[in-house]
């Protein structure tokens, strides 16, 4: 192909011009020598040879690649016209930049969080395994693995490389420093099978990964920096983790995570071999606390692996009927665990798409208005010999250029805006570290802006005349075909409809947030601290020592000036994590799957004072309820109604799984919204039962002590008391630590953070949509009105007054507003249902939100149409008629 020719066409043309000149000179010479006069010779030469220009054009055309040639011409022309209308160009570009910038930001986040594969080698060959039972409980039929089941699977399976891990946070203590860190126990296969190379040192070997092996640990890059200042000599040193000495054998690479669905705040810091865990539960086939991942062998499909796992499952079920009856293993592709971020992201992406659509419609109507007034220009071009397709291309080039420039600006906006956006995310955005502007994002932005650009150009391109050029050329730009008016009207209607959807969504979210934040959480949220607490690991071996340690913690905390009361609690209101147990009100227990569930919360007597929960009946737990005395419990009013409807619960007995004897209900307290302000109404298990920590049986004390938190009511602002509190509970060896210190106020706010975040963004989007829609309706009306000025002139000349003209214009806009609003309402109903489905606490039937928002939109739209209407009514009939 003529790429070389294409780029050399200018030089070739100059060459050819010279050559043709030489040809003519030769012909003149020849004619002169044939006896002609010089003038005649020249005349004859030109006559014979025709126009050199035409030859040059033919060669030029042959040399050029038409498409590029036209593109370059069109681009140059577009730039020229845009430069001549800077106002139009600025508005169009800004609108598109805002739209595509917002879309690009959302896509960048979605790409990083939802679409990017997990950061392991060949992530598509990775899978997650779970146990599945043919019966189900309230929690469903999927279970974590029991360690012995994992070992059997690993021994027998041929199609997979299996790996196992388990969360194990704990206290890391150095000379004067103790810190609670997240950690994992994992099998020696994890690093090699995931394709992760340790940064320094070595991974675990199969020898490390068995009971009785020398204790070794791998630490995170972050902990290596914090604890050792990045000293390479850290490998080989001793690390005290949970009061046990470990030899550090390796440093994990920076950013290494095991995405086990826990959504830890940061990276986990300490890794130990799972096989070294000597806990009894590790030999128990009924303890389902292990997570198992696998890598498919080459040429093995998921279905093959599933068949093999089924066989192993059936065999184990036959071999261990007590624990494994009806239990098999299922395998699924490994996906990032992002929780509710998925629905939030898609919701926002939907909202952003609406904004982008409004922006496009807006610019499209601007372009269309220009196209109508350029009708003569187009007709002229066609008359001068431009083919229709050539003019259509010109139109599309123009809009595509607008789209691409807008998209480019949008990418710049996104590059600036992406970090603040991620920082704004409530809590922590899962996989935030994966969110970057990469080539996927650029490709997306390019595609979106090109597509939007071409879409923008379609309406104007359709207006290019085919036949009947004459009347257009003769009439000038005054006649607006009904077709264009209808198209303009449908643009306005679309914009208004889309804006209604966003406005109503924002309204519903706003009302939801208002309603939820006015709810009574059931506790007094002010001046209360709640913190998880890790006792000195050494004390956990002996229940008596543990109880004494807790007692001392409470006493020490209470002695801090400003502290009013202190209590222990295992389920803190509005914080993640709780304990659900079955109960029954008769000694003859119903079958497990028919028993009711209750949130069981073990507390110390002061809990009622710390939280200021109202006591409705009887008494709360006291210091008299201790080991050996009668087992007691206090229930909340939800459980009272559920378990003893219409009766006085005090004195009744409840059979629960903790301890064997029934406990006697001694009091009733008010309901506390443990699931958060938003989530509590929809929560499956709301009934709550409090029982004294003092009556937890000895064998459960160590496990319970890992889960207990302390709650502190202060008489002053609680935050300055955090440090004194840390020091007070540190213990004799200085290795007792507080972690996840929060005020209840923070937790309460946190339960609404998702709604708040959505409201903020939907509010911004809705405002943007409203603004764009108003600009749109203003622009379209102003344009249509200006086209009708001669008509108004005639009307006024015939006796219409200013009011009549104003009404005429407003009637047109009111028509569009009504149709747009009605269509928008229908879409808004669907959007509201979606919100209700995805966001806790939202109610889709919210007439107030609908009415308010639609009123806002109608008022704004009327306001925007008032300006053109007034202008039309001020038309001077004489000058208007003269324009004709």
């Amino acid at each position: 192909m003529g790429i070389r020719r294409f780029f050399h066409r200018r030089a070739e043309d100059a060459d050819l011009a010279q050559e043709l000149q030489a040809h003519i000179s030769h012909q003149i010479d020849e004619n002169i020598s044939a006896g002609m006069s010089e003038d005649e010779a020249r005349r004859q030469a030109y006559l014979k040879l025709g126009s050199p220009q035409q030859v040059r054009e033919r060669v030029w055309q042959w040399n050029t690649v038409k498409f590029f040639e036209h593109l370059v011409q069109d681009l140059r022309y577009t730039l020229r016209t845009l430069r001549r209308m800077p106002g139009f160009a600025t508005v169009a570009l800004l609108t598109l930049a805002l739209g595509s910038g917002a879309t690009t930001v959302m896509f960048t986040v979605i790409n990083g969080v939802l679409l990017k594969p997990l950061p392991y080698a060949e992530p598509s060959r990775l899978a997650a395994l779970q146990e599945k039972t043919d019966w189900s409980t309230q929690w469903g039929d999927l279970w974590g693995f029991a360690y012995p089941n994992y070992l059997d699977c690993r021994r027998d399976v041929r199609s997979l490389d299996l790996m196992a891990f388990r969360y194990s946070g704990g206290t890391v203590s150095a000379s004067s420093h103790a810190e609670y860190v997240d950690g994992f126990e994992f099998s020696s296969e994890v690093l090699p099978v995931l394709g992760i190379h340790v940064f320094r040192g070595r991974p675990f070997t199969a020898d490390d990964d068995r009971p009785g092996a020398a204790p070794v640990a791998i630490i995170s890059y972050g902990l290596w920096q914090r604890l050792y200042g990045g000293d390479p000599a850290a490998v080989g040193t001793q690390l005290t983790f949970e009061q046990k000495p470990y030899t550090v054998v390796g440093i994990a690479p920076a950013g290494f995570r095991l995405d086990g669905g826990l959504q830890l705040q940061g990276e986990p810091d300490v890794f130990t071999p799972i096989g070294q865990n000597a806990g009894r539960y590790m030999q128990n086939r009924e303890y389902h606390g292990i997570r198992v991942w696998a890598r498919l062998h080459p040429d093995v499909t998921l279905a093959d692996a599933q068949t093999e796992l089924d066989l192993i499952g059936h065999r184990l079920a036959a071999e261990y009927p007590k624990s494994n009856h009806g239990r098999t293993f299922i395998i699924e592709p490994l996906r990032p665990q992002v929780g509710e971020a998925r629905s939030t992201l898609w919701l926002l992406f939907g909202a952003v798409t609406l904004v982008m659509l409004i922006a496009c419609v807006n610019v499209a109507s601007l372009l269309l208005a220009r196209a109508v007034s350029r009708e003569r220009e187009f007709a002229m071009r066609v008359a001068l010999g431009a083919s229709r397709s050539r003019v259509v291309w010109q139109c599309l080039t123009e809009s595509a250029l607008l789209g691409l420039c807008g998209g480019g600006l949008g990418v710049l906006l996104a590059a600036v805006g992406i970090r603040p956006f991620v920082a704004l995310w409530p809590g922590s955005l899962p996989r935030a570290e994966e969110v970057h502007l990469d080539w996927h994002v650029l490709l997306f932005a390019f595609a979106v802006s090109l597509l939007s650009g071409l879409l923008l150009g379609i309406a104007p391109a359709l207006r290019i005349p085919v036949r009947s050029i004459e009347p257009i050329l003769r009439a000038g730009a005054q006649n607006v075909g009904g077709q264009s008016r209808r198209l303009h009207g449908s643009f306005v209607i679309t914009e208004l409809g889309l804006a209604v959807v966003l406005l109503v969504a924002a309204g519903i979210l706003g009302r939801t947030l208002l309603r939820l934040s006015l709810l009574d959480p059931g506790v007094n949220i002010h001046n209360v601290l709640a913190s998880r607490m890790a006792l000195a690991p050494g004390t956990l071996k002996d229940p008596a020592k543990t109880r004494a340690a807790w007692h001392e913690v409470l006493e020490n905390a209470r002695s801090i000036p400003g502290v009013e009361s202190v209590a222990m609690v295992d389920t803190v209101p509005m914080r993640e994590g709780n304990n659900q147990i079955r109960y029954s009100t008769t000694a003859a227990k119903a079958p497990a799957d028919q028993q009711q569930l209750v949130l069981a919360n073990s507390v110390t007597p002061d809990y009622l004072n710390v939280m200021r929960i109202p006591l409705l009946r009887g008494r709360f737990i006291t210091d008299e309820d201790r080991q050996g005395s009668e087992g007691v419990a206090v229930i909340d009013d939800v459980m009272a109604q559920q378990a003893f409807p219409g009766q006085d619960p005090t004195g009744k007995h409840v059979w629960i799984d903790v301890g064997s004897d029934p406990v006697r209900v001694v009091g009733v307290v008010g309901h506390v919204r443990y699931w958060g302000l938003a989530g509590d109404d929809q929560a499956k298990v709301r009934a709550t039962l409090y029982y004294p920590f003092a009556q937890v049986p000895d064998n459960l004390v160590p496990r319970w002590s890992e889960l207990m938190s302390i709650a502190v009511r202060t008489s002053v602002d609680p935050l300055p008391l955090v440090e004194p509190l840390r020091r007070a509970v540190r213990g004799a060896a200085g290795d007792q630590v507080l972690y996840e210190v929060r005020t209840i106020e923070q937790l309460a706010k946190g339960t609404l953070s998702r709604q708040r975040f959505l409201l903020l963004l939907f509010g911004v989007f809705a405002a943007l949509a409203l603004l764009l829609a108003c600009v749109g309706i203003y622009g379209v009306l102003a344009y249509l009105t200006s086209q009708r000025i001669p008509e108004f002139g005639i009307r006024m000349a015939l006796g219409a007054n200013a009011g009549d003209v104003r009404r005429l214009v407003l009637r047109q806009s009111v028509g569009m507003i009504i149709v747009g609003t009605v269509l928008g309402m229908i879409a808004a109903f669907a959007a509201a249902r979606l919100l209700e489905h995805l966001v806790p606490g939202v109610r889709s039937t919210d007439p107030v939100a609908f009415a308010t928002m639609i009123l806002v939109l109608i008022l704004a739209a009327l306001l925007a149409s008032l300006v053109p209407a007034r202008r039309a009514s001020r038309v001077d009939p004489m000058s208007a008629l003269r324009q004709e």
Binding site: E19, A22, P52, V59
Partner: protein, 116 residues
């Protein structure tokens, strides 16, 4: 340029002009004007070569590598662009000529039967 002579320029097939140009160049390098002149004279003015077809054709031939070109000085001391047959062009000419001969013979046979 007798008026009774048939004018075939408009209908001259594209490939034919190429062939004629190549044939002209077999005598040695020539510039555009000479080429046109030679074709006209050899055909006793039956074939008229127009600039409009000659120069695009030369351009095409150069692009295909059948002729090469250089700037030189002509017999009456003017600057002119000379065209020279390349080896590839020579081969092309042979192929074209034999194809043309075959076609002429074939057409001749058909016409001979028609006049019988």
């Amino acid at each position: 340029m007798g008026k009774n002579k048939p004018q075939a320029t408009q209908e001259m097939l594209q490939g034919t002009l190429d062939m004629l140009i190549l044939q002209t160049l077999i005598m040695g390098p020539a510039h555009g004007h000479t080429i046109a002149r030679v074709i006209e004279q050899t055909s006793e003015d039956v074939l008229q070569v127009e600039q409009g077809s000659l120069y695009p054709a030369l351009h095409r031939l150069a692009d295909r590598g059948w002729v090469s070109s250089y700037w030189g000085t002509s017999e009456n001391n003017r600057k002119a662009k000379y065209y020279k047959l390349t080896a590839k062009g020579r081969k092309q000419l042979l192929a074209e000529t034999s194809r043309w001969q075959q076609m002429v013979e074939a057409i001749g046979r058909v016409l001979a039967r028609a006049t019988e």
